[in-house]
Subunit: 330 residues, 2 copies
């Protein structure tokens, strides 16, 4: 097997986040399910934007956030995901390349606009996401850069892609190429509602195609329809080589066959916006893994990366994660 040119290649929905504060009453008035990601169409996106407060725009997209975090840690990353050749597409492409990620997908010259995610942050720092997928779901088999996937130690896929049939096919195709090249495949379940929508497909994928699974407590219990976190943990042990399960302020649990680690969350002075916490945990974990670190250190680096991103608005790091990890002696 040739040396990997990339530590990680991500495949995901290329999205620009539109972030505003909102209170609980606003969520209620507009029928928004707190804490989860809901898919919306162009009309609903327009209507919601009209009532949304003054916002800031920042590149997002779950896997893209993870790759941005990986780059900030010093890792070598690539990304596959689709934007239009519009202003928001320009923003997305710029931000990913500016941080050193090899962005592989050409912008589409026709079709719907670049995807956006309206993110409502409540005073408790929880985020409620309303996503208009736009052109991002037109990611198809032709966009999967097979050579880049063969060149990456880990191919990282986001569960959100399962919401569209073509993207799901591209997803499975990418996993197959990676495995054929002797590489690893990682998956994040993304969202409990996404898991509920596609449970059977996810279970099939986790059992047959995924080496490294990321999920939070709500997602992993949804996947196995388990009554408790521990119940889900016992299931996933047998299904994946490595599972990294995040539990917000309770930290994370990493399980790999007989090996099990319970990692504390990093303390932070004030949580501002939890958007991207899971994405950045995955950055740190995958960075550690591709650097040959032990699983406990992978989890700790994940926690440090997640702690940075929840202390400000937006899902991409604002400070050098490599410097933070150094400070912590890791």
């Amino acid at each position: 097997m040739a040396a990997a040119a990339f530590d990680v290649i991500g495949v995901g929905n290329a999205i620009v986040d539109v972030i505003a504060q909102a209170d609980e009453a606003f969520l209620g008035r507009n029928g928004l399910d707190k804490g989860v990601m809901t898919l919306i169409d162009a009309d609903r996106a327009r209507t919601l934007y009209d009532v949304m407060g003054s916002a800031l725009e920042m590149s997002g997209g779950s896997a893209a956030n993870t790759l941005a975090g990986l780059a900030s840690l010093g890792g070598r990353g690539a990304y596959i995901g689709k934007v239009r050749n519009d202003q928001l597409g320009g923003v997305f492409s710029h931000d990913l390349r500016a941080i050193g990620v090899d962005y592989r997908t050409a912008a589409a010259h026709s079709g719907p606009p670049t995807a956006r995610c309206l993110i409502f942050v409540t005073p408790d720092a929880q985020r409620t996401m309303q996503t208009y997928l736009g052109i991002s779901v037109e990611l198809g088999l032709a966009d999967i850069d097979e050579q880049a996937i063969r060149d990456a130690e880990v191919t990282y896929l986001e569960g959100y892609l399962f919401d569209r049939e073509d993207a799901k096919k591209a997803f499975v195709h990418a996993a197959e190429i990676a495995h054929a090249a002797g590489r690893k495949v990682a998956l994040t379940l993304s969202d409990p509602f996404c898991v509920n929508r596609h449970r059977d497909a996810f279970l099939h994928l986790v059992r047959g195609h995924v080496d490294i699974l990321f999920a939070n407590e709500a997602e992993i219990t949804a996947l196995y329809q388990a009554k408790s976190f521990d119940g889900a943990l016992q299931h996933v042990r047998g299904h994946c080589e490595i599972a990294a399960l995040t539990r917000s302020e309770k930290g994370s649990v990493v399980v790999a066959g007989g090996e099990l680690h319970v990692i504390d969350a990093q303390r932070v002075a004030k949580v501002v916006d939890t958007t991207g916490a899971g994405d950045l945990y995955a950055s740190g974990f995958l960075f550690g893994l591709t650097q040959g670190r032990n699983l406990a250190d992978c989890g700790r680096i994940g926690s440090i990366a997640a702690a940075e991103v929840i202390q400000h608005y937006g899902a991409r790091p604002e400070t050098s994660l490599a410097a933070l990890v150094n400070q912590k002696g890791l």
Copy 2:
């Protein structure tokens, strides 16, 4: 004179800010003059954006920031400034309306794109601004909503408009309408280099058309080619009804004929990004003034508003300024 429908109407360049961190070496390498605003063309904007780090986008524009701050304080504001009907224009319009400002200008359906300002924030929290004015400078006489100006207690103009001849005409026209209706005209000098480019025109305007002048130390000394702040202060006393002169961490000085107030700056835990400090000082000052507060309180409210905006990235408030002012007992 009829009761005013608006406390303040602002006229300015409608701009979306693109904000990234940069170090001093970056500024040097790219020939950027630290701390000031430089006008750039579309090509230079593209080249600079290519080397700029990962950024966040937030609505900006000096007078628009001031009106956003006024709205956050509970004031009634309107705004005149030009965007294209593109994605960034949509962002600008949305953000201003979302905070309750009556945005008066229709988006252009042809011409250059919405203006953007690339803002490089150095670790000392100073901002260096590179502005591509795009469609914003096509603001002309036809865009000046005369009735709205007559309906506003104060017409607030930004000096940046002086960089284009048509905008300058629109500017003077707005001042004349306001005065004919018995209203007040306020001006911010915006930038010392802008003052140097247009000193005679500014002096003429300040003497003949401006009731309330905002300037920082560099701008007011540039205007009068004075050797010291105090020298400039003695000049401006005779030229304007009210001058509010800001001096960063040294606070501000308000002078009105024989009346003079020295206002301390609000202490802040950490200065993150000084972009918008002057704009938000003007928000607070004009809010106080149109509420009939004394000049010392106007300056204090200005300081509170400025202190909020320098503690985070971006030039618009992230918290309710009305609540902050209440907390301070003002």
